[in-house]
């Protein structure tokens, strides 16, 4: 009868080894099954052998569920993944699913994938055809930008990374010059370098720009401009002057109410119709303005959330010290409000980066757009999976980096206890 007694401290010495053994056995069974396609329990009737790992693991988890066992790691294990029968079941299923899904993923991504060669015919394995990415890599990075001129894009981004990198190591005193350079000088310098047309550089029209570099260019410019416009709109919406207030509300609600794809389409197709004959604004610039204003409307609402979260006393204290509207906002209100809404700002900027592929509607092709183009090339049909997995990975890296940066910023600026 002793064996069926409820697990407790008294039978710790017998139950825990048996329990752990059963759990290991069940995991081993699934593991061997998944990786070596061999069924340890094949001698049993097929239905029983199918469910056996689950049953064994379940009994094992029941046996080790000893409250206040006195062993710290066991207590933590029980508390987190084995608190009752249902949780034990969920734990087992999760472990099995993870083990089961590793081999096919590994096969597709690496073991059966093709890395060598330079045409679709070289992809003979069952896994991914990374040759596709390798052959098209240059296009995915630079779009249709002429090969001979690509050093200009590289130089622009190298300068950017160098300046940003160095700015992390210089003292606070010089940091502001780096920031001023990055915000007011570099964007125009970089664009001039990439577009050319002067200083002996060959002119490259913006229709030829593309790939990941275009993703970066559009994101960077949109972020740079949508942020200040959003802040001004947010302040405008809370203004006591009715004209400014209602213009801001109208602007925000108009842009927020329209899908980005519509805005982009109108900027490229309808907007030129309203321009007087002979005037011409580059398509990329029109698209940039459209994305900037669209995201600025969202930014405005995020910032307004922060403004509203500040106690009225902060405004009164600033006013009572003789500060006017602009000084009050620049020195007291915005530093606090923006700090409060860093998660929201990061959210909006991440969404902005991930919205850039939509510019395909006007014929501009950044990373995802170039992949879309490459996969319809007759020589490379059927490569959509590889292409979009690659695009997803690249976007994930960019967005995760931004997300981490925003978390660091939040931590750095926190002055609470």
């Amino acid at each position: 009868m002793n064996l069926i007694a409820k697990p407790s401290k008294e039978n710790f010495k017998t139950y825990v080894p048996i329990g752990l053994f059963l759990i290991s056995l069940s995991i081993l069974d699934v593991f061997v099954n998944a990786f070596f396609n061999f069924n340890l329990m094949a001698f049993l009737p097929s239905q029983l052998s199918y469910f056996l790992p689950l049953i064994l693991g379940f009994i094992g988890f029941y046996l080790i569920r000893i409250e206040f066992s006195g062993v710290h790691s066991l207590d933590i294990l029980n508390k987190n993944i084995n608190s009752n029968n249902f949780n034990a079941l969920l734990t087992l299923l999760t472990i099995f699913i993870i083990i089961k899904s590793i081999p096919p993923m590994l096969d597709w991504f690496i073991l059966e994938a093709n890395f060598i060669g330079n045409s679709k015919d070289d992809c003979t394995g069952d896994g991914a055809c990374w040759v596709f990415i390798k052959v098209w890599f240059n296009r995915f990075m630079y779009g249709l930008y002429p090969d001979a001129e690509q050093w200009r894009i590289n130089t622009a981004f190298l300068i950017l990374f160098a300046v940003v990198g160095v700015s992390f190591f210089v003292s606070e005193k010089f940091k502001k010059y780096f920031v001023l350079f990055l915000v007011f000088v570099f964007p125009f310098l970089g664009i001039k370098l990439i577009s050319g047309g002067s200083f002996g550089l060959e002119y490259v029209e913006s229709a030829a720009w593309g790939g990941l570099s275009l993703t970066f260019i559009i994101s960077a410019f949109a972020i740079l401009f949508c942020f200040p416009i959003g802040v001004i709109l947010a302040l405008g919406r809370r203004s006591s002057l009715p004209a400014i207030k209602y213009i801001s509300i109208g602007f925000i609600e108009l842009w927020r109410g329209v899908p980005l794809i519509t805005v982009l389409f109108m900027s490229a197709v309808m907007f030129p119709m309203f321009l007087p004959d002979g005037t011409f604004i580059d398509k990329l610039i029109r698209v940039l303005i459209a994305i900037t204003l669209f995201e600025a409307a969202y930014m405005a609402e995020v910032v307004r959330g922060g403004l509203q979260a500040l106690p009225k006393g902060q405004y009164e204290a600033a006013k009572s010290l003789g500060m006017g509207y602009w000084r009050m906002n620049a020195l007291i209100i915005l530093p606090q409000a923006l700090k409060l809404v860093i998660p929201g700002i990061a959210n909006t900027l991440l969404a902005l980066v991930k919205d850039t592929p939509l510019i395909f509607v006007v014929g501009l092709m950044e990373l995802a757009g170039m992949i879309g183009l490459a996969k319809t090339n007759p020589k490379w049909l059927g490569m959509a999976m590889e292409g979009y997995v690659f695009a997803g990975l690249v976007f994930w890296i960019i967005c995760y980096a931004m997300s981490r940066y925003s978390q660091n910023l939040e931590k750095k600026l926190s002055t609470e206890r």
Binding site: P311, G313, A317, A318, R327, L331, Q336
Partner: protein, 243 residues
């Protein structure tokens, strides 16, 4: 002696509700006035009208020779000369105590940074929290925060100080350290208007006592007379309840 603050027939409404009714008040330089009265009687609104955190609808308010009106330039000039201390301290939580004190002198009075810092340290020493200068407001106790707020107001070298229930949000044992600073300030000759229920403090420093109820000044009297021989029944009732 000339008057530094003059209010004539001041009326104010919040929507339909009248909060100030025909307020007349004159304050001479270096005078200390304590305003008391039940909650909702308009005490806070009255002193907030003096630096125009609230706008009055009727009557005139003249502060240091400048009439308060719609024009913005005047308002900022007045506010720079009138220091205010709030019930909730309202320190700027994103700045250190020292930066709290130097911000307005640097940006409003255009003082060089070094001078502003010397001034700030002088005033922080005066309120005895110079050792906390580099901490952030969130790291200080309530009493220390309120003293920092007083120092911040003093850094603008105001001619008048307004106190809006400065000790009401404090733990009892911290009230004294704030009142001590205020007494010291009063003895230094500052013009002060204080809304408070601390009658001990009022007896010690006030030249005049004002009792308000339902938006009206019910009684204005010399401090001694106010406590020993109040005229109106409403004042007597109030005093009997809080003393």
């Amino acid at each position: 002696m000339g008057k530094i603050i003059e209010l004539k027939k001041v009326n104010k409404w919040f929507d339909k509700f009248q909060v100030l009714k025909d307020i007349d008040l004159e304050v001479a330089p270096q005078e200390k006035i304590v305003i008391c009265g039940p909650s909702g009687s308009g005490k806070s609104t009255l002193i907030r009208c003096i630096n125009r955190l609230e706008e009055h609808q009727e009557g005139n308010i003249v502060v240091d020779g400048t009439e308060l009106s719609e024009s913005t330039k005047n308002i900022e000039k007045i506010r720079a000369e009138v220091g205010m201390v709030f019930q909730q301290f309202n320190l700027f939580p994103h700045l250190s105590i020292l930066d709290n004190c130097t911000l307005a002198p640097i940006w409003v009075k255009k003082l060089p940074k070094k001078e502003a810092e010397e001034l700030a340290m002088k005033n922080l020493t005066r309120v005895q929290i110079d050792d906390q200068a580099l901490k952030f407001p969130g790291q200080l106790s309530g009493g220390q925060q309120q003293r920092a707020a007083i120092a911040r107001a003093l850094c603008m070298e105001p001619k008048i100080m307004l106190f809006d229930e400065p000790t009401s949000a404090l733990d009892p044992e911290m009230i004294k350290e704030v009142l001590d600073v205020m007494v010291d300030l009063a003895k230094g000759g500052m013009t002060m208007i204080v809304v408070t229920h601390e009658m001990g403090f009022a007896k010690e420093v006030a030249d005049y006592m004002i009792f308000m109820d339902e938006g009206k000044i019910v009684e204005k009297a010399k401090t001694k007379e106010f406590f020993e021989n109040p005229k109106s029944d409403r004042t007597k009732l109030f005093l009997s309840q809080i003393l």
